[in-house]
Amino acid sequence: MAGTILPFGPQHPVLPEPLHLNLQIEDEIVVSATPAFGYVHRGLEKLADIRDFRQMIQVVERVCGICSMIHALTYCQGLEELMGIEPTPRARFLRVIWSELHRLHSHLLWLGLFADAMGFESLFMQLWKVRERIMDINEATAGNRVILSVNVIGGVRRDLDSGQTAWILSELAEVEKGFSAMSRTILHDYTVQKRTRGKGALSRSQAMELGCVGPMLRASGVSQDMRLLGYAAYGELEFAPVVEQDGDCYARCRVRFAELGQSIGLIRQAIAKLPAGDTSVPVKGRPPAGEVVARAEQPRGECLYYIKANGGKFLDRLRIRTPTFANIPALTVMLPGIELADVPVVLLSIDPCISCTER
């Protein structure tokens, strides 16, 4: 069929969120792809005009459900830098624990959606079943499954007692068992390999040029991970970025799968080293003034906050550059030339979060 235009989305069963792609296809091969946005735009940056800088913590958590904790963390770290506040050591370790729990549940969610994009429904269900344990940990420790709302300026709102940390460790052992049982399917299954190997490949230089972040960049051989900046307590924990060389969907899958184990390792380290003390420092004095850029590693990659404050209750400018926003340009390069059947796989391989992109 020559020159068919396939309107892919905004409502399409394989898309987790509304994104529209105009796919021009010939014989089921994509010739060109133009993305269109604006279906879930909520104007959250603009809300900084009418919500004060403390209330904005809860607002930025809602930029993205799946990485809500790390959005609030980045925002709070930015404000702490502006106001010259140092969070307590215990708070810094607790932030790592919740961040990594978020990364775990986000990656499990992604692996499930990825499996679903290639029609592997039982793998999808299985991974989400494993993910439920993480959601339980979130609910039991922070009070909610997805939007944890634990961050405040100067620390965290909740604490973990020794019973809870022991329980988290035992649950994590179960989670590890759960996803390890799937490792051979995800990494070595014939049908999975057929659908992911060599699809949507980006070379190292292409990934850099397109400004990719997070697992996308690491799958293309660039060892970059914002956690190496040492924010929260990452500077005191041992880990190395997971890097793959092929840059295709399979490599991205491998990176995220390996990061599951890495996150569990980081949580174990953080719990072992968890210092005693308060969970937050009291914040007094004037509202922040000045401008700052804060960065953190979300499950999807680097997240950048630009905060400009004028000493009043309301911020002058809040700019949120989410990881998916940085990864979308890569789609316009990866999609042309692939089969229609691979469009969902390549699309999902960037772990698209459209709510993040539009805010």
Binding site: S122, N144, R158
Partner: protein
Amino acid sequence: MVFMIPVVLKNLFGRCATRPYPQSPRQLFAGSRGQLINDAGKCILCGTCARSCPSQCLTVSRKEGLWQYEPFACVFCGVCVEACPAGSLSQLGQWRPAVRERERVVLKVEVKSEKSGVRSEA
């Protein structure tokens, strides 16, 4: 393909991970941020909760003696509970059940008095 066979067979003979939801709901964990309630006896109508609320779902009117709450605008962040100086706000260990009509909670508060009453309006 063969790698997945033991996993699915284990599922077949094991317990299901799902449950029929409305018939058998799950107990929330202790400390879950559920339904927001105000103990009218303790409330001093200071309005701290309304000022701290990120979604602006609370209105406190000292003159009329009313504490008003819009559960459908609430994001259950629990900021108001922590901000409350009188300790009158708390979150129950259960979620608000689904309802057919939009509700608004209007609480009549008499400061320094034991009397109080709850009334709901559609």
